[in-house]
Subunit: 137 residues, 3 copies
């Protein structure tokens, strides 16, 4: 069985944000013994990844690290007309990825205790973001 849902996230500020609960509130996994949940972001300047759901400074450090490893205003950027945050946003999106796939077991996401789903919002004013969740069971 395959099901698909659209999710529209409200605007998040630039940085990394825990969206596990927001995703789970929009999809019913009850009754799924084993399966997979695929979450996809329909944008090229924001990303999805899985990391620690507890200490919020992990998310702060993600933003610091990726701002350093993917700098704004690198002298070799040619794609600059959408602002200094735009080309780094594309590079961060591909480094982190545009989808996550998570096992479902006994009606729940089978994440580790400390794992949550992160939205990486890489634009200064990215606005609302569209996700597609596809559930296989």
């Amino acid at each position: 069985m395959v099901r698909q849902h659209n999710i529209t996230l409200s605007s998040f500020p630039r940085g990394f944000h825990l969206i596990t609960n927001e995703v789970l509130s929009q999809v019913d996994l009850n009754g799924i013994q084993v399966g997979l949940l695929h979450l996809f972001i329909k944008h090229t300047s924001a990303s999805l990844t899985i990391n620690e759901n507890a200490d919020p400074t992990v998310r702060t450090d993600f933003e610091s690290h990726f701002n350093k490893s993917v700098p704004e205003n690198a002298p070799y950027y040619q794609h600059t007309y959408e602002g200094s945050d735009d080309m780094p946003a594309h590079l961060k999106a591909s480094t982190l990825g545009s989808s996550v796939t998570i096992p479902i077991t006994n009606g729940r996401l089978n994440l580790g205790t400390w794992q949550g789903i992160y939205l990486g919002e890489h634009r200064d004013h990215g606005g609302s973001r569209k996700l597609i969740v596809t559930v296989y069971s």
Copy 2:
């Protein structure tokens, strides 16, 4: 239903290349209401990722960025006998990833307006590349 197809890409020069149309020309999504398309590259020195399909300078900037963040001839490389482009190619392949998974909705890839599939060709002379597309519906 699961279907699988082999795709053989012709040789691309080192850099990032939009291959969405080439993939879609080899697989028929008609009649698939909801599903997933999984695209896998059978090589360790080339990658697949999703990013902007419009301005070609995004792809140029990808090549510049990853050449800088994964340099050739780093003094600590031990795997050097296949040429200076080889070890960076392995590292870029794992940083970007060897597969993409994309939702299918109403017979089409449900990509965002500006999203396309990139081949990252990380070798100077990578030659022809083999992909496997698996479609679930």
Copy 3:
């Protein structure tokens, strides 16, 4: 058909390790004509990726590269109370990813000749790691 198995890996030292055989020993792909194998790691400081299965110096160079591109003790890290290896481990985990998805064809993983599955153990003392393998066919 969907099947799911838990895999518990014994402790690996920090670095990159080939685990293809360990995964294959725990799941029976016989009789699967076409399908996908999804492998997920339930941790935020270890990763899964696909790369060269032959020369072990590729794995050594992976460790060297990611130690340089994701340094310990960066002055801007705030999440430091679990040790200097912890925050870099989180960043490496998201850069490389927490799952891989591999085509199955005629009862075998349809990997390229030189491809294997890597565990990226990013902690100094990560201990045993839990994986979930989900097989679709």
